[in-house]
Symmetry: C2
Subunit: 303 residues, 2 copies
């Protein structure tokens, strides 16, 4: 039997948050429904942040309420702080995603704290979530390079990972937030982490800024990583990097994993329908890079 | 000192041959000059085929004559048969590229011969070239998958490689002609070949149809391959695959290799100028996938 790799679609949160077109909760639910219909069952559905700070994520509670009508899945929501955590928990979120930082510069820019202060807030959230029985994913942003502070020390990232896995996070995800990592760096850091902790509680998150997104996924797969964030239709981007591409597209990642012989439980044709929807709804999503090839190829397979 | 990887730009031949816009010899020389100015000194400059069969390659002799005015380099030309070889040699070409086939279907489509018949023609050319002191690169087309015959047996490809290296070709290049290979297949086949023959006389050639071009370059680099074909601005394509992307773009490959810490002897800013020229001259070249990021990034480095 083929080994399983989990693909977590962050398009409805990370993707939509980093592109100009705002979708209302009903449209976001429509997108989530289309993604879920492909068999993909890990989805980051929204962010419990202040609607004043991030207007495009307003109504996250309505999105979460609407999930009741869908097939069950591993739906998660981003939280920036304890207040956000409480809102998410009260809305019925079972898995929260919180952000750690590989650099001081990014921590200060995002949450106006030092890296260590952000870690302390996160530790407090984990304590509360553990008491509440809510699962926690810790994503470490700019795990390879920061647009403000430059290259990030892999040793620091590995130490943060070890600490938070010990603190009880369910999963620790390395995020190449600005798409600056190369596959050799990915190989080295993921090998270190898989050797230390096993792959079960690790994951990776890549952006395609330098067209290396899929090469980085491959390098991480080779190290044993079996969990990847990706964004439907390549939705997203990063406001800090000129010419930055969005997240690596979910359809591209699923295609690669299937070609490498892994099971994902995802139907690529239905996933492409969700990608089409993401492009229609936003008008900005580029679509997966392999999409032009993938559509006629799949149609031929299903003849 | 950084290890060297050779990048061979096949844009002026493979690239231009597989896109609609015909460039006259003077324009092709202009493009070759721009590429050479970046420091890149391996360039496939033309094809000695019948101008009736391939009108866009007419005037290859004029292109070769024009190389006299450029900095010295490893300029090569494609030849389809012994007659083409003689024309190339008489024009002053020092390195010829000939095509072998991973499948009968592609051999019949391209040269109306069986795979073995094409091999026999190639063996005869090598004999003549050896006598003439002309270097020979053997490129095996559809080395991973054929659009007519399906997946190609890696054992067959390895056997063809061993045979032609013994026959005296200077280099044996695996070509994923339709961009169907995945990095695992690339890793496995290149490992086998590097283990058997060392890397010195091997090379790889990838297309980006499934957005896996750079992942495949990375996988081959990991196996020890140190020679890659690429096409300036991603010029090219394949007439047989719907939605097929072109060759992997030279600027993307050079960027990746530099980020992996290899020396290429190529100035990326000047290479991007050549890429701009390729886009202007043809109107069809997509440009490297990392180009939108690369340009402002390089400008910032040079400030």
């Amino acid at each position: 039997m083929a080994e399983i790799v989990i693909v977590n679609d962050v398009g409805p949160r990370d993707g939509l948050q980093n592109q100009p077109q705002a979708l209302d909760p009903q449209q976001r639910l429509q997108l989530i429904t289309a993604i879920r219909a492909s068999g993909l069952d890990h989805i980051e559905v929204g962010s419990f942040v202040s609607p004043k700070a991030v207007p495009v994520m307003a109504g996250a509670d309505a999105v979460v309420a609407g999930l009741q009508g869908l097939a069950s899945g591993n739906y998660s929501a981003l939280i920036p702080n304890l207040r956000g955590y409480e809102l998410a928990r009260d809305a019925g979120v079972k898995t929260v995603v919180m952000v750690l930082y590989g650099s001081d510069g990014m921590a200060r820019k995002n949450v106006n704290m030092s890296r260590e202060e952000a870690d302390a807030v996160a530790a407090r959230i984990i304590e509360q979530a553990t008491a509440d029985g809510v699962a926690v994913i810790a994503t470490i942003g700019v795990a390879f390079e920061c647009p403000f502070d430059g290259p990030v020390d892999p040793g620091l990232v590995a130490d943060v990972g070890a600490r938070f896995l010990q603190l009880g996070v369910d999963r620790f995800v390395l995020a190449d937030t600005i798409g600056a990592a190369n596959p050799q760096q990915v190989r080295d850091l993921t090998r270190t982490l898989v050797d230390r902790h096993g792959a079960q509680r690790l994951g990776c998150h890549f952006h395609d800024t330098r067209a290396l997104g899929l090469a980085n996924v491959y390098a991480a797969v080779e190290s044993g990583i079996r969990y990847f964030d990706a964004s439907i239709a390549g939705l997203g981007g990063c406001p800090f990097a000129p010419g930055a591409g969005g997240n690596v597209a979910t359809e591209d990642v699923v295609m690669l994993l299937q070609q490498l012989g892994f099971a994902t439980g995802i139907d690529l044709q239905q996933l492409l329908a969700a990608s089409d929807l993401a492009q229609t709804l936003t008008g900005t999503a580029p679509g997966g890079r392999a999409k032009a090839w993938l559509k006629p190829w799949l149609a031929k397979q299903h003849q």
